[in-house]
Structures are given as structure tokens and as C-alpha cells.
């Protein structure tokens, strides 16, 4: 069932269009991640959903109720959209105690006293903040304030919660723990969460479904974490979700070459999977998917080697190009050591092909 639906939203700030024709469905009981670089409009979308800004075009439904429509002249104010929102800066009210912060939404919804007390208790239990009821926010750490914000969102609406960069202000260790907690919380309560972040790793870690947006506010890909990692839809998604190398490639009479300034390097005699015939191609490849293979005709020189504990990072130069290559420490147990200046052969596995956007590549 669709919990929230955005249809053809267009939002402009003055002349600047932030998002154009943005459509997205949020399904009940899922954690949907909206991921994109800073300034891609993801916060704008959340604010439009929450009712804090008005879209210039489009419609928004929450729980099958139309809450915003330019055409039908509907605009429900934030207080009647029945959402819980967790803000990036927590937005825990500094003049109210933890208890009063979490109680506030219930007071506004006129929930009977006994019931509301129970609900606040449960919410605080869920975020493991029992015992802090009387504390003022200034007495809490950042992580604890974040929990209070989540508890408040839970009492505000336990079935649809928007989270805008909720863990960005926490330190790295807390971030990891908080992600797991959000995940477990969601599984227990079966709530729907829209999670907005610029941190693709956090999103892939947490979310059932991820939407990746580009700088222009366009949706590039939507899918499960696995789909996105296995089959990035385009070059932007490929590079956004992890370290990557891009190499222009060309086909000449059935053989496939890495395009080089001096001399093209043949790396395959058969049609690679996913190759777009008759178009400019750009090979995208993860550093872990380039392996050393002495039999390969593709020869390169190691220009730099860095040991990072769990893996080695090599920078190899191939013609005029520098590629990044990762090798797991386990693989290097085979006894073969590679050091700077060594000549190596490279083999590409699991590479992706994209129609080249880069006009600098000539065929």
C-alpha cells in the first residue's frame, strides 16, 4: 500500500528550479532512503512533504488523502499532515524536559491523559531513554538528544516518519549504532520511514529501498540496495555509491580496446556483457574488480602502493591514465608482492558499460 505519494512536484526558489517533475511513492512499512549530493533538493522534498514549503506544481498524498495540490487548490498545513519529523539539528525544545518534549505531540492531539502517559513511556523505552524523563535537553549528549527527537517523532506519528540527516551530527561510532537502532525500531513498530541523507553508505546499510538523486534534482535510480550496488543505472550512480574508475573503451572490428592517447590497448576479443554497440562506451569499474593477472595483455606500472590494514590500495598507470585498484589483504597471502615500479598485467571483472557522456572521447 502506498503510504505517501508525490506526483510531478516542481519546486523553484526564485528562478532556480530545485526539483522538476519529481514523482515518488513511499510504501507502507519500508525504510525509503533519499540519497544525493548536497544541494540536490532532497531536503526541499522533505520540506514540501512536511508542508513547510509549497511546491509550484504537483500533488502530494499522505495515507491516500490529498494534502497538497496546486490544481485542486489544496494545502493542508503541517499540523494536519500526521507526520513525525526528525530534524538534522534534533530540534529538541530546550525549555522543555525530555518528558514534555515527547508528550507535546500527544497534548496537541488531545490524547487522554492515561493513554498519553503510556505512549510517552513506550516511546522513551523504544529509544532506550527511560530514566531521563526529567532531564533538560542541555543535560543530554548529542546522541541522547537525537533519541529524544526520534521518540517525539514516534508519539507524533507512529506510522510515517521523515528523517532528515538524523545522524550527521553524531560521531562516527554513534552513527553506526544509531543506524542499527533505527533499523530495529522500524522492524518492531512496522513504521514507514523516509530517510534523507547525503551519506550513501548509511542509506545502503539502513534502507529497504534507495532513491538516488543527482545534482539537478532528478531521480537517477530507485531500487533495493542490492540492485543499486549490482547494477548502477548510470555513470553518476556508479561513481556516487563508491570509489570508481572510468575508462573510455572502443570497439574495432570485433576487438575491444582501452582507448589511449598513443596506442589503443586490446583487452577483449569477445563482446563484453552490457556493451552498447555502436555507441561511445565508458567502462566503469570498482577498484576491487581490477585484478592483477600476468597473462593479461593489458600492462601497467604500479606508481604507488598503500597498505590500509584490511587491503592494499594501488595506483597504477596505464598509458596516460591512473587507475585505483584495491586488493584484499587475504588475496595477498598468495605470496606474491607488488611494489612501486613493478610491471603488472590487469584483468577487469564485472565491469559496467555506460554510454559515454564525456564528449572528450573520440572514436
Amino acid at each position: 500500500m502506498v503510504k505517501a505519494r508525490m506526483e510531478n512536484l516542481t519546486i523553484r526558489y526564485g528562478k532556480h528550479t530545485v526539483v522538476q517533475n519529481f514523482s515518488l511513492d513511499v510504501y507502507e512499512g519500508e525504510i525509503l532512503g533519499i540519497v544525493g549530493p548536497s544541494g540536490c533538493g532532497k531536503t526541499t522534498i522533505m520540506r514540501a512533504l512536511g508542508g513547510f514549503i509549497n511546491a509550484d506544481e504537483g500533488e502530494i498524498y499522505i495515507n491516500d488523502t490529498l494534502v497538497y495540490s496546486v490544481k485542486k487548490r489544496v494545502n493542508r498545513p503541517p499540523e494536519s499532515r500526521k507526520l513525525g519529523i526528525v530534524f538534522q539539528d534534533y530540534a529538541v525544545w530546550p525549555h522543555l524536559s525530555v518528558w514534555d518534549n515527547v508528550m507535546y505531540p500527544l497534548k496537541k492531539q488531545r490524547v487522554p491523559r492515561e493513554q498519553s502517559r503510556k505512549m510517552v513511556k513506550t516511546a522513551l523505552e523504544q529509544v532506550r531513554m527511560t530514566g531521563y524523563e526529567k532531564h533538560m535537553p542541555s543535560q543530554l549528549s548529542g546522541g541522547q538528544q537525537q533519541r529524544v527527537a526520534i521518540a517525539r517523532a514516534l508519539t507524533s506519528s507512529s506510522d510515517l516518519i521523515l528523517m532528515d540527516e538524523p545522524i550527521t551530527n553524531l560521531d562516527a561510532k554513534l552513527r553506526e549504532g544509531m543506524l542499527d537502532e533505527i533499523r530495529m525500531l522500524q522492524k518492531r513498530l512496522k513504521t514507514t520511514i523516509v530517510y534523507i541523507t547525503h551519506d550513501q553508505e548509511a542509506a545502503l546499510h539502513l534502507c529497504d529501498r534507495v532513491v538516488i538523486m543527482d545534482q539537478k534534482g532528478k531521480i537517477c535510480q530507485m531500487g533495493s540496495d542490492e540492485e543499486i550496488i549490482q547494477r548502477p543505472a548510470d555513470q553518476f550512480v556508479f561513481s556516487f555509491i563508491g570509489a570508481s574508475n572510468f575508462i573510455p573503451v572502443i570497439e574495432k572490428s570485433g576487438r575491444y580496446y582501452l582507448w589511449e592517447a598513443k596506442e589503443d590497448l586490446c583487452y577483449s576479443n569477445t563482446l563484453p556483457q552490457g556493451y552498447h554497440r555502436g555507441a561511445r562506451n565508458m567502462m566503469g569499474i570498482r577498484p576491487l574488480d581490477i585484478v592483477f593477472d600476468d597473462t593479461s595483455p593489458v600492462r601497467a606500472v604500479i606508481s604507488q602502493a598503500v597498505f590500509l590494514g584490511s587491503m592494499f590500495v594501488y595506483f597504477v598507470s596505464l598509458g596516460g591514465r591512473e587507475l585505483r585498484l584495491h586488493r584484499s589483504t587475504l588475496d595477498s597471502l598468495d605470496g606474491r608482492e607488488y611494489s612501486e615500479g613493478d610491471q603488472v598485467g590487469l584483468r577487469f571483472i564485472n565491469e559496467k558499460y555506460y554510454q559515454a557522456e564525456n564528449a572528450g572521447v573520440s572514436i
Binding site: 512536511g50 509550484d56 525544545w93 525549555h95
Partner: protein, 575 residues
């Protein structure tokens, strides 16, 4: 990310369920109130100066500004303003350095002494100085003449020079306050590195410390200059008897002499325009001077700077400073108090001449005095409350709703801050004497209230907006998403968060309103005398001792409210 909060689809916004949204109502009200309260008086001044009812009239303006006594008043205004400001700056900076950066003892005592002038209105201080140093009648003059068997009074305060000195000693604490905080926030490593590079102490003070505090010094100087140029109380108390006029006192004199004749009031408006021009030039010159050299080395966080050892000159300096401060700050208070318990003005200060008869005279069956206290309390409270609510609303509109033209709103609201009180009063006379909308407030207490609101609105606006800007948008958005309406969010979240600022901003209006003279002296009617006006009237009519007694009452009221506000704001919780 900075978000633009201008509501776009206005017709959509209406579909909130209500035809008029709170945002729009508040924005509209803000524009309306500022236009009537601030713009209208200013426009009326310009209109009446250059328009004689039927045609453009520049001739009157030229005639007024070229009249000899007016030229003399302009000259006096500029001379007094500039020299008093320079003197005040030198003294203020010296004390700021002494207390901020040297190891002089008894700093607590000196800081306390510095806080006193802020509580005594300038006309009261001038009155006290007049009691001490006016020709042969001044108490200190008489003492000196006796001790040294002088034939003539050694000092005569009723001169331009006298006014300059009194303004300087009254205003130097303003410079001190600005500079001392800058000195305390200055990064000490800047000076230390100069010392390490081999510079001598005095050289460091001249070449490092002073230049770095120039922004603070110049803002203090500008404050003093503008206040001095538009000051009415001191020149009125000291210069009036010797026919020494400045622009503000001349404006008041013109209105009084006119006796309701409109042509006379028009001449006063012409002088007001001149006064505004003088103040504007001062502002402009200061901007120009400040442009060359903006330093951001003074940080917000407080650091403990290294104190400079005064060594041999420590105790001589201490004695000189304490004596000077006590003399300029405490003696006026003591003299006012002593005069207030004298049987008759002119008698020597001795036990047999002391009595409480003056207090009895002003309090028992003296309707004029009781009314003036009631009026001032009423004005202080109502102006305080009204300015408080307008200040909250305006700062909310300007900083949270951010409508189109929000910048104009802000400019309008702070404009009266640099507009002399005399000018504001003239504008109010013109605007509220039945000329516009047929509303006549003249001679009632309401015209004083309107003038106070116009003058003091910028105080509450500044205080409230500083606090409101710390309340992040998300705090209110969070409550909206929790199911609170816009109004409920304001009441439950925003207002409680800025409450401390609201309380102190009430007193920011109440205190100056209690000791106000400049505006009310032009606007009072038979039944709307304020404390300041009543004190001045008593003095002019020769009841010096009663004037002193009423002054003591005024000072006590002011000191008590000041203590209250300090107690309230001390335990304010940070957001």
C-alpha cells in the same frame, strides 16, 4: 542551506482553511504601525518645512537657517558635540585600557562607579553640576572662594566650555563600555607576538592594541556624538539662563515662543531638518572613516588577556582615577541629595539647615507632582508593554516570516534610534494635531505615548531579534509537525524561548521612559507632565530644593527598576 521563506503561491496559502493567515496579518500590521508611528512624523516634518500649505516654500527654510541666533545655535551644537565627544573618547579609552588591560587594583569599585551615570538622566546630572559650579551661587564655587579668598567664582559652568566639560564627563562611560568589552575579547597572542618580536610596551599599546580597538572606539564615539548633538537636557539646564542655545534647545524655545502659532512651529521644523542633517553628516563621516580598516581579530569568546604591570605609576594612577570617578559620578548624586534636604536653596550644608520639608511639600497635597509620577509610571509601563509586543511581532516578521520589503521594515524601525528626540517630538506634534485623519492627541498624554513608542521601538526590536535569531526554524517546524498550529507553536515554543529577552527589553524601554525629558518637554500638556518635565518646571520656577527632592525620588525609582532587571536577566538560560 539557506532557504527562502517567501511564501509564493499566495492564493494557495489562503487555502490553509482561513482567509487571512497569521503571517499576512502580522506583516500587514507591522507595515501599518511603522508607517503611522515612524514615517508619518518624519514626512510631516519635511512636508511642513518646504510646503506652506499651497506652494513649495524654500524661502522660509533659508530665512530660518540664516537667522543669527539660529546660526549661533548650529555653531554651538557642532562645537559642543565635537569637542565633548573627543574629550569623552580620550577619557573613556583611557579608563577602558586601565580596567581592561592593566593590573590596577579596585577594579570592582571602578566598574560599579561606571554603571551609575547610565542611571542618572543627563538633565539631572547637569542640574547637579549647575548647583555646584554656576557662577557665584554654586556650592563648590562658594567653597573655593571662601577657602582661597577669591573675589570671583573660579569656574563658570554656564558657558559653552562648561557644557562641553559636563557632556564629556557624562558621556565618557559610553565609550568606556564599548571599548572595554572589545579589549577583553581581543586575542592576547596578537600583543604577545609583538612583544616577542622586540617591541616595547608603550609601542605595543600604540601600534597594536589601539588600532585593533578602533572599530569599538569609533562606534562608541559615534554613539556619544549623536547623543551629544541631539542632547537637550544638558544645554537646557546649563545654557538657558545665559542664552546659550544649541539646536535642540533652540527648537524647544521656538515652539514655546510660538505659543501655538503655526508659523513658529514651522520654524522649529526647519531647525529640526537642520539638526537631522547635522546628525546624518556625523553618521556619514563615521562610515567613511570606518571603511578603511575592519578587523575581525576580536573574537566572540572571552579570553583572559595578559595584564600589563603598571609598576611605579600604579598607585598614583589609582588615586587619580578613583578621585576623578568619585568626583564626576558620585558628587552630583550627593549634591542633589543634600540640596533636597535643605530648608532653602543657598543655605550652607549644615545639620541645622537640613529637614525633610521638601519631600513633604512635593508629596502632600501636591497634585502636580503626584500626577507627574503617575504619568511617568503610566508612560513607562504602557510604552514598555506596547514596544515589547511590537518588538516581538516586528522581529518575528522581519526574521522569521521574511516578507518582501522586510529590510524596509527593519530600517523604518531603527530609524528613530538615530533621530533626535526633539525632532521626533516635533514630528508627533505635526502628525497628531488633527492634521492627519483628524486625530488630535496634542496636549494629551497619548501623544507622549506615541512618541515614546516611536523612539523606543528600536530598543525592543534589537533585543528581541537578537534572541529570536537564535531560535532555529526547525524548533517551530518540529512543533508544527507535532500537530500544533502556527499560533500554538508561537505560544508554546517561540515565546518561552525568547522570554528572558522580552523581560529585559521591557526594561530597556521602561527605564529611559522614566527619566525622559527631551520629547516630553515639547509634548506635555497641562495634565500630562512627566517626572522630567515636573523637575524642570520646579527648577525654572525657583523651587530648587523641591526639584532636587523630586530628582531623588526619580533616581530611586530608576535604581530600583535597574536592580530588578539585573536580577531577572542574571539567571537567564541560554538557548
Amino acid at each position: 542551506m539557506k532557504l527562502n521563506f517567501v511564501r509564493k503561491n499566495n492564493d494557495l496559502a489562503r487555502l490553509d482553511g482561513k482567509r487571512f493567515r497569521m503571517d499576512n496579518i502580522m506583516t500587514f500590521l507591522s507595515f501599518l504601525i511603522l508607517t503611522t508611528v515612524v514615517i508619518l512624523p518624519v514626512v510631516m516634518i519635511i512636508y511642513n518645512t518646504f510646503w506652506d500649505g499651497s506652494k513649495l516654500d524654500l524661502e522660509m527654510f533659508a530665512r530660518v537657517i540664516l537667522r543669527e541666533e539660529n546660526l549661533a545655535a548650529m555653531k554651538n551644537t557642532v562645537i559642543i558635540g565635537v569637542i565633548a565627544t573627543l574629550l569623552a573618547t580620550v577619557i573613556g579609552v583611557f579608563f577602558a585600557w586601565l580596567l581592561g588591560r592593566s593590573d590596577i587594583p579596585l577594579k570592582g569599585l571602578m566598574r560599579w562607579l561606571f554603571s551609575i551615570p547610565f542611571m542618572i538622566p543627563p538633565f539631572l546630572a547637569a542640574m547637579a553640576w549647575d548647583m555646584m559650579f554656576s557662577g557665584r551661587g554654586g556650592y563648590v564655587n562658594r567653597l573655593l572662594m571662601n577657602v582661597f579668598s577669591l573675589a570671583d567664582a573660579p569656574f563658570n559652568i554656564n558657558t559653552v566650555g562648561g557644557i562641553i566639560v559636563i557632556e564629556a564627563v557624562y558621556y565618557f562611560p559610553f565609550v568606556y563600555m564599548q571599548v572595554v568589552s572589545a579589549l577583553q575579547r581581543m586575542d592576547p597572542t596578537l600583543e604577545e607576538s609583538a612583544r616577542i618580536s622586540g617591541a616595547k610596551q608603550w609601542y605595543v599599546i600604540r601600534k597594536i592594541t589601539l588600532p585593533l580597538t578602533i572599530p569599538a572606539i569609533s562606534s562608541g564615539t559615534l554613539l556619544v556624538l549623536i547623543t551629544s548633538l541631539s542632547n537637550y537636557g544638558i544645554p537646557a539646564m546649563l545654557g538657558y539662563s545665559k542664552n546659550i542655545f544649541t539646536l535642540p534647545t533652540m527648537i524647544v524655545e521656538r515652539v514655546n515662543r510660538a505659543g501655538g502659532d503655526f508659523q513658529g512651529i514651522r520654524e522649529a521644523t526647519a531647525l529640526s531638518v537642520v539638526l537631522v542633517i547635522v546628525v546624518a553628516i556625523a553618521l556619514f563621516v563615521q562610515r567613511k572613516l570606518l571603511k578603511t580598516g575592519r578587523y575581525d581579530i576580536i573574537k566572540g569568546k572571552s579570553m583572559r588577556p595578559a595584564l600589563i604591570k603598571l609598576r611605579a605609576i600604579k598607585y598614583p594612577l589609582l588615586v587619580v582615577s578613583i578621585v576623578f570617578l568619585i568626583f564626576v559620578v558620585l558628587t552630583p548624586l550627593v549634591v542633589i541629595f543634600l540640596v533636597s534636604i535643605l530648608r532653602a536653596y543657598g543655605l550652607p550644608f549644615s545639620i541645622e539647615n537640613f529637614s525633610l520639608i521638601n519631600y513633604q511639600k512635593i508629596f502632600v497635597n501636591n497634585k502636580a507632582v503626584i500626577d507627574s509620577i503617575k504619568n511617568s509610571l503610566f508612560l513607562g509601563f504602557s510604552a514598555g508593554i506596547i514596544c515589547l509586543f511590537l518588538g516581538v511581532m516586528l522581529s518575528y516578521v522581519i526574521y522569521k516570516i521574511r516578507p518582501k520589503g522586510g529590510g524596509i521594515l527593519e530600517t523604518l524601525a531603527v530609524l528613530p534610534y538615530s533621530l533626535p528626540g526633539t525632532v521626533m517630538a516635533i514630528g508627533c506634534i505635526l502628525a497628531w494635531s488633527g492634521i492627519v485623519f483628524g486625530i488630535t492627541l496634542y496636549n494629551t498624554i497619548w501623544i507622549i505615548l506615541v512618541a515614546y513608542i516611536a523612539r523606543y521601538l528600536s530598543y525592543t526590536l534589537k533585543s528581541c531579534s537578537a534572541s529570536l535569531q537564535q531560535v532555529h526554524y526547525s524548533l517551530e517546524e518540529a512543533s508544527r509537525s507535532c500537530g500544533a498550529s502556527h499560533m500554538e507553536s508561537l505560544v508554546d515554543i517561540t515565546i518561552p524561548l525568547i522570554k528572558p529577552a522580552m523581560v529585559s527589553s521591557f526594561f530597556l524601554v521602561f527605564l529611559p521612559a522614566m527619566r525622559e525629558l527631551t520629547t516630553s518637554v515639547l509634548l506635555y500638556g497641562p495634565n500630562s507632565r512627566t517626572l522630567g518635565v515636573q523637575i524642570q518646571q520646579l527648577r525654572i520656577n525657583g523651587y530648587m530644593t523641591q526639584a532636587a527632592a523630586l530628582s531623588v525620588v526619580a533616581i530611586i525609582i530608576i535604581m530600583v527598576s535597574d536592580t530588578v532587571v539585573k536580577a531577572i536577566t542574571k539567571d537567564r538560560k541560554g538557548i
